[in-house]
């Protein structure tokens, strides 16, 4: 029974059928078998959050699941946020505008952790945001601009004007044209 098992998984709306070894981590299945390399692998023991995906709609660590456990389930990875390569999801757009990333390694995990959060929190407090991202590590930004990006994303998604948002320091988005 250490032999490979057939699985059928829906990822970003598309059904995949593969045969996998039971020990194959879901994170490696997504990257190596499905070539969905947007899901990043950092620590591989559940600390960094870079590999976070949606499993039946809820954010989970894909490095702490075996691919066989995803059989019959519905997954969403960062590739599923926007079907148009020229058009970012509002959450991604907010990260871009508020400079919520530098190297970008942690970003897919942040986005997938935050997607259900911004959908269910139209006007989150800073404390709520910081608790929501408490399981995701970012070594570049110092988190300030990620928090600002979440506020901006929540405003975009709920149709509120974002002008009142105090984006931090030099990284505030330029208002048209500026460098």
């Amino acid at each position: 029974m250490t032999t490979s098992l057939p699985i059928r998984v829906t990822v970003n709306g598309r059904v995949y059928e593969r045969t996998v070894e039971p020990r194959l981590l879901l994170s490696d299945f997504l990257r190596h078998e499905l070539e969905l390399t947007g899901t990043h692998v950092g620590c591989e023991h559940g600390v960094c959050g870079a590999c976070t995906i949606l499993f039946d709609g809820a954010p989970v660590r894909s490095c702490l699941l075996f691919a066989v456990q995803a059989h019959g389930h519905e997954l969403m990875t960062v590739e599923g946020l926007s079907s148009d390569p020229n058009h970012l999801h509002p959450l991604q757009q907010a990260f871009h505008e508020a400079h919520g990333l530098q190297c970008g390694f942690c970003t897919p995990g942040f986005l997938m952790t935050l997607l259900p959060f911004v959908q269910s929190h139209p006007d989150p407090t800073e404390e709520q945001i910081r608790l929501a991202i408490s399981g995701n590590l970012c070594r570049c930004t110092g988190y300030e601009n990620i928090v600002a990006a979440v506020k901006l994303a929540a405003a975009k998604l709920s149709g509120r004007p974002a002008a009142h948002l105090a984006l931090t320091g030099h990284h505030a988005p330029s208002q048209g044209g500026g460098a």
């Binding site: 029974m1 250490t2 098992l5 070894e21 039971p22 020990r23 981590l25 490696d28 591989e44 023991h45 559940g46 959050g49 976070t52 499993f55 809820a58 954010p59 989970v60 660590r61 490095c63 702490l64 699941l65 075996f66 066989v68 456990q69 059989h71 952790t113 608790l131 929501a132 408490s134 399981g135």
Partner: protein, 292 residues
């Protein structure tokens, strides 16, 4: 960093699962939420030959009250479901308050209440909550079903009194009597990390305002959750004045716990935290019991 090979079984009923565990016993591991087991497998600290995945066993995920008003939670209920359950908030306020301290939201989406108890990490919250509330678990094997009190469940570091062929199936919390107050807190390096020291308290006041019962358990300071017998005895039958509460917390720090030093904190710092956090939770719990 990949797990060693294993045979994988995904039973859909508890009967199938107990049968598989009876057949494979010592070489098998049960996979619940996997939020502790899979990291240890990724590091190859654990290399079980057989993995029995309980996730498809739907009958193990539920939250309900029993006839006495006690709370029964199926072992495979996700921590996030426990956290957001109104039934839990009403029937077991201490458990409700402890849930946000357990790791991070994505971990709680997957982690289970039964898995956390069976794993018995000495720094984890849920064993101390179960011990404080005087809860029990139900264990099932092909040989039958038995109930294990929290006092008898935790026997050492990552060790419970569950037999190799037994599955923890249900967690039971007794009903909450009137004039009860609860509180739980912890100190961790970062929110969601394992606690350096944590403590859970349940107190019951008598009609005259004296302490009818105090139950206090610490985590992160021993081989499992540590019940503060001496501190609780000191409070019994007394008026919960600030001086007495401080004295009880000090007794807990000096006589009830025997913390070790490690890379995270010294034993002396842990003792200090026991006294400070013990005083805080007792103060809060007594105030809540008094309706304040």
């Amino acid at each position: 960093m990949k797990p060693a090979p294993f045979a994988y079984y995904a039973p859909h009923t508890l009967e199938e699962a107990t049968g598989l565990l009876a057949d494979h016993g010592y070489e098998a591991k049960l996979l619940a939420g996997g939020q502790s087991l899979i990291p240890t497998m990724n590091f190859r600290l654990a290399q079980p030959a057989v993995l029995i995945d309980l996730n498809p066993v739907a009958e193990l995920a539920y939250i309900r009250t029993d006839a006495d008003g006690g709370l029964c939670i199926g072992a495979m209920t996700r921590q996030a479901q426990v956290e957001h359950s109104r039934l839990v908030a009403e029937a077991a306020p201490l458990l409700h308050e402890a849930m946000p301290l357990v790791a991070h939201p994505p971990i709680r989406n997957r982690g289970t209440i039964g898995g956390s108890l069976a794993h018995a990490d000495p720094a984890s919250e849920l064993p101390a909550v179960l011990l404080t509330l005087g809860g029990r678990v139900q264990a099932q094997s092909r040989r039958g079903v038995r109930t294990i009190a929290a006092d008898d469940l935790f026997v050492g570091i990552f060790t419970t009194s569950l037999e190799p062929d037994e599955i923890l199936t249900e967690v039971q919390f007794p009903p909450v009597p009137p004039r009860s107050g609860f509180a739980v807190t912890e100190v961790a390096r970062r929110h969601g990390d394992y606690a350096l020291v944590g403590v859970a308290a349940w107190v019951v006041l008598a009609a005259d305002g004296r302490c009818q019962q105090a139950r206090l358990s610490f985590f992160g300071v021993g081989e499992g959750p540590v019940f503060a017998h001496r501190a609780c005895a000191l409070l019994q039958g007394q008026r919960p004045e600030p001086a007495l509460i401080a004295e009880a917390a000090q007794v807990a720090a000096t006589a009830d716990v025997d913390p070790q030093s490690d890379i995270h904190a010294s034993a002396a710092y842990r003792r200090h935290l026991v006294a400070v956090l013990g005083r805080r939770v007792l103060t809060t719990a007594f105030a809540r019991a008094a309706g304040g």
